[in-house]
Symmetry: C2
Subunit: 245 residues, 2 copies
Amino acid sequence: MSLITPLRDERTLVLQLRDAISALIEEQGLKPGDQLPTEAELTRKFQISRPALREALKLLEQDGAIYVKHGKGRFVSAAAALQVERPITCFESVTDMMHKSGYRPINKVLSISEEVASGEAQEALRLSPGSRVIRLERLRMQGEEVLVYCLDYIPRSIISDRLYDIDWSGSLLDLLERHDMRPRMSTAIAASVMLPHDVSERNDLHDFGPAFLITETAFTPTGVPVVFAKDYHRGSRFSFSFVRK
Amino acid sequence: MSLITPLRDERTLVLQLRDAISALIEEQGLKPGDQLPTEAELTRKFQISRPALREALKLLEQDGAIYVKHGKGRFVSAAAALQVERPITCFESVTDMMHKSGYRPINKVLSISEEVASGEAQEALRLSPGSRVIRLERLRMQGEEVLVYCLDYIPRSIISDRLYDIDWSGSLLDLLERHDMRPRMSTAIAASVMLPHDVSERNDLHDFGPAFLITETAFTPTGVPVVFAKDYHRGSRFSFSFVRK
């Protein structure tokens, strides 16, 4: 067992301690389910007070790195090892998501228009009644195959240019960035649906099958909602991973 | 502006400081997008060193409570305010999920059997070739309507009882708890699919429509996989929320 120097830099004791306990777990080769040394052993080892130790252990518990069995002690958790690639909880553009899924799609703009925000978009974008939005309707195509049907609503007030002066086939997030309004996070709802009948009719998408619909409101870091989106992903082409705990 | 007592309890300075800055944000009524006081102001106010302050600010940044604009300073973020009810990232049983969605379903056991683990279940449950699993097939019904079709695989080795001595219509998690094997977390994949043809045929579920399929491996806190599940939720009845950031 390696020698650990007593901790002396009191400025950041709890955080140092948290990291030192993590390092100890690794050095001692403790595996998920193994018990941590006792509080007495840890205070002795690190030459610190029990309240400081308990705060550090609490941080580790909050991080999911250890867990408590009441009356039995603290144990190494497996939660840290539970990881998935590209979790659905990472905010990213549809374009980035598709690239990471191995697709190199082309965007096809179906329509771009300006209208009074409907109930759903008005509420999501926190607009006052009668506010105008830009409605953008696009297909993401891989060759001849439609992978995603995307409907986006953007408050008209944040885009100063005339609609037809803008290239809507590029990244919407990049466009918003140029207006200093790039979204960085969102709230989202996933559901399993069929494509709306009119969308399917107009675009000859009768073979689309079940769609993985993500209805999403994207916010700037300051909490301004800037995009309300409905993205219908072809069910046979996409799946989305996440960790639950 | 309220008077804040200089921080003196050095044991936990950074954590105290983090909480004190959070409290300051609230007391001063700072809103998302508002700038934080400067480092100089904060060190003066709290009578602490700049390195300690920076660690506390880093914790707040990691928590998503503040964000940095390079060259401009630190700002209050809206991420803390982004919350959804019942996020998909919370581990819970199908029964609990349905209760919170307002359903009071009845479980109907379609079949219970023991078999050699197939490729998918064997891999998810990390079983050696030839290992046996219990296969449980259930419907979650609200009145006459099937809400979820559930397929669960449990390693045979962790259930000591004879299959027919167990009431499989109850909670699977409670059953595993009685074997000291209650799962607390999972990795999951969501997709949009149609019900498998044979399931639809056998159970007269031709009207089920698009299903929200969650394929999930559930683990004990020590990282032992104890359930591999495929839950097909009737798409018209369920949706799942999450925050992306």
